[in-house]
Symmetry: C2
Subunit: 259 residues, 2 copies
Amino acid sequence: MQYEQLKTLETKQARQHIRASEYTGHTAGIAKSNLQGNVVILPLKYAFDFLRYCQRNPQSCPLITVSDTGNPNLSELGVDIDIRTDVPEYCVYKNGHLINTTTDILSLWQTGFVTFVIGCSFSFEQELLNHNIPIRHIENNKVVSMYLTNINTRPSGIFSGSMVVSMRPMKLEHIASACIISAKYSKAHGSPVHIGDPSIIGIRDINQPNWGDKTQFKASEVPVFWACGVTPQNAVKAACPAICITHSPGKMLITDLLA
Amino acid sequence: MQYEQLKTLETKQARQHIRASEYTGHTAGIAKSNLQGNVVILPLKYAFDFLRYCQRNPQSCPLITVSDTGNPNLSELGVDIDIRTDVPEYCVYKNGHLINTTTDILSLWQTGFVTFVIGCSFSFEQELLNHNIPIRHIENNKVVSMYLTNINTRPSGIFSGSMVVSMRPMKLEHIASACIISAKYSKAHGSPVHIGDPSIIGIRDINQPNWGDKTQFKASEVPVFWACGVTPQNAVKAACPAICITHSPGKMLITDLLA
């Protein structure tokens, strides 16, 4: 299943192809008007510290839902959703090290697992496109560029670390609208955290993102930075829990909720 | 210290009198423009279930903050705040039974305690008064009437139960404004959950509140109901944790944050 083909499908159909591992790529621009989610799965013993971390850092970690303990279904996001199969690609971390990527986690599931679904900036991108604000990484079929910054998050127990941001190049005349539009999406990171000079937030080289693909700039475009759902992934990685499973950056859970 | 005198004081001064147990009454109308909070203190073992309960029921349980584990200070709400002394009166529950009310919990504090501060409808009352919408229980120096309803909350682990509501009588011409104004206060329960006939939400007798004082109605006034921070207290009581400490209904933590 190719990206261009998946883009034409309804939400439930797109998710079925993902569930069957027929599509394992990024989800930007797929199921356009639906809320997409970052996924973090942790054993119960880490769940309180992590939920408090989300509560303390709502712009990086806007919580959409928290599962019942041990239940792989997320029926409030879509009656058919099974978190063990419905993400295009998963990252499996043990003691803070990425040990595997996989297209399902059926064999890894534990009865004490808790799933956290966190909003994603993809949710407001369609609205930007509707306002004729181009999104480069969608145009070019790339994963959005993501960077580690020097902006501290508020720690909670074992979880702490710097904010990760996603970046979209914008023409000056689009920046105000992009701020106003994204601000309405509080469950999708809200308004930008920084506009312009990347060095101010600790990014040395805009052409070397820490995650995702390099982004092509056009003349007189400015980088605009939004808080990113990889922030909690990064905090989890640093905390070195015995096991943690996340989505692969850019490859999100697609929900039935409207963005 | 009398209520009328406390009403004239600045926030920090009012809190000092509360800290010294010189005032142990209700806090409606005190430190007028500041955010007030419902307080729930639980051992760590119950903290994840309870935090997820708040996340799932944001209108009843709009979280203001969650403390670090074992730390009685809530510096983000006020640098001097010590949750062991700064509430006018506490309720101490053991295994779901109210065993004591007290004006400080210094001798009861445990290293594994976690404090949850939840928004309170008092926060929007000043704004209603600013719009010339009378608040009867403030006029009459009473505790707002609170009722158990038949509206279910979303359960989380051991926590579940019906929504508790607070009620204010309103003239018809004030109801639309009261809805619009309170809707802006999402951290203070937001807009009403019900307007009019109490029996629809399971309240048999408006003159017999489950908590607080009976409210006097004037001619052609309608009862308006808001989700109430006693909801999580009620859920906690039903869950029968070994120990739980809350504020006494109507006697809130006064913070330095603006409402």
